[in-house]
């Protein structure tokens, strides 16, 4: 069999493609783009919540938030590791992010105005991420699927800590309950947009599904997320800001309104509330750390030429 036939056969039999296997150039490029975008989202995703670490209301909440944000850094690194198996270089990918040549999830361009936002991000944003990511654990590219398995194991903690935080606030003062409702009102629609544009406007989806990189369409996953979230909102005692939201007994799914796709388009193309700030922050961190990376490399080189230590 030729490489091409082996590839087609591997996909058809639902087996995994591994880094050194022959693969179509389009498959490789699609994966690099998707994995890089996913990695960038994890890295940029540290910023909205990171802003609350120093302002967390208790040591317990601070420790939890610190662990959660550290996990997101880890997720970014697992994914850059997977991208590198395809011949990408993580330094280059970071450069592309900073220069705006690669994207990250639009959700992280919204501000975190109160501590309730930390809870709502855990509940809805990590919840939407879980919906997206669980099927990716069966993605056809082995290193990506394995990274997703690690990530999904950790996401459950993220969602539960957020929901618990919100339950605590809902048991507090009327002002605290208002903060939760306000955060839900602001994050609900952007969370629905995390699944991407409607299927009809998502031209590359079909190819990704044929290659089994993706397993479900954007609209399927969005519906799944709505169905999961409605009873959780009821249990919490908050209202989801969608007058069209109601159970459809015939479909056995919730009907829901249409997100403002022009807003998604604006945020994706760089005009969201905080796009510039998020990228500027990432660029700053990269340049602030440059001397440390260079010093460590120089030290390792010196150890190596002296023929001692842990260098080679």
């Amino acid at each position: 069999m030729t490489g091409e036939e082996i590839f087609a056969d591997t996909i058809a039999r639902d087996q995994r493609v591994e880094p050194r296997d022959w693969m179509p150039d389009g498959y490789r490029q699609t994966l690099i783009r998707q994995i890089a975008q996913h990695a960038h989202s994890e890295i940029i995703g540290m910023q909205p919540e990171g802003e609350w670490i120093t302002r967390a209301p208790s040591l317990r909440r601070k420790a939890i938030l610190l662990a959660k944000v550290q996990d997101e850094a880890g997720h970014g690194l697992y994914l850059y590791s997977a991208a590198e198996t395809l011949g990408a270089d993580r330094g280059d990918l970071t450069q592309r992010l900073i220069e705006g040549r690669q994207k990250y999830s639009s959700i992280f361009n919204y501000p975190t105005l109160s501590f309730a936002d930390v809870g709502v991000i855990g509940w809805l944003v990590d919840g939407a991420a879980i919906c997206n990511q669980v099927p990716l654990c069966r993605s056809s590219f082995g290193p990506y699927a394995r990274a997703m398995i690690r990530i999904c194991k950790e996401e459950s903690f993220h969602q539960r800590q957020g929901y618990e935080l919100l339950m605590t606030m809902m048991g507090g003062t009327p002002e605290q309950r208002d903060m939760v409702q306000d955060a839900v009102d602001r994050w609900w629609w952007p969370s629905l947009m995390m699944f991407g544009p409607p299927d009809a406007d998502s031209p590359n989806s079909a190819r990704s599904m044929a290659w089994k990189i993706k397993r479900h369409s954007n609209d399927e996953l969005r519906q799944r997320f709505v169905d999961m979230s409605v009873p959780q909102a009821e249990a919490l005692g908050v209202t989801l800001p969608d007058p069209e939201l109601r159970w459809n007994a015939e479909r056995e799914h919730y009907d829901f309104g249409t997100p403002d796709w022009s807003e998604l388009q604006r945020v994706i193309t760089g005009d969201g509330p905080l796009n510039r700030q998020r990228i500027a922050r990432r660029r700053q961190a990269d340049s602030d750390g440059a001397w440390v990376r260079e010093a460590a490399a120089a030290y390792a080189e010196k150890q190596r030429s002296a023929g001692n230590g842990s260098g080679r």
Binding site: R20, D21, Y78, D92, R146, E154, S310
Partner: protein
């Protein structure tokens, strides 16, 4: 990929022993300036929840791997040697413990 990239730190492959009695298993890779830093980063990255009791790190460019194109030449010769498997041998049911 594209040229002119500063490879600031080399790539290391990470192997973790989940618990005593098990082999070290490959879990992913990371970048570090040297082996000591690679171990430190591997601990922070791959064992935040008691996933391991021991870590190996290996420079990725030190790994020598078989070529997928040689898969047939490498692995197919064993496919027709069924006599290497115990089930190849018919033993009467009446013979115990064999």
């Amino acid at each position: 990929m594209s040229d002119g990239i500063r490879h600031e730190w080399p790539l290391f492959e990470v192997f973790v022993r989940a618990k005593r009695g098990l082999n070290h298993v490959h879990v992913g890779s990371l970048r570090a300036a040297d082996h000591g830093m690679a171990l430190q980063h591997a601990r922070d990255l791959y064992t935040r929840r008691n996933e391991g009791v021991s870590i190996w790190v290996v420079r990725s460019d030190d790994v020598v791997a078989s070529d997928p194109d040689d898969k047939a030449a490498y692995f197919e010769p064993s496919a027709d040697k069924v006599y290497r498997h115990p089930t190849y041998y018919a033993i009467p049911e009446s013979v115990p413990h064999i």
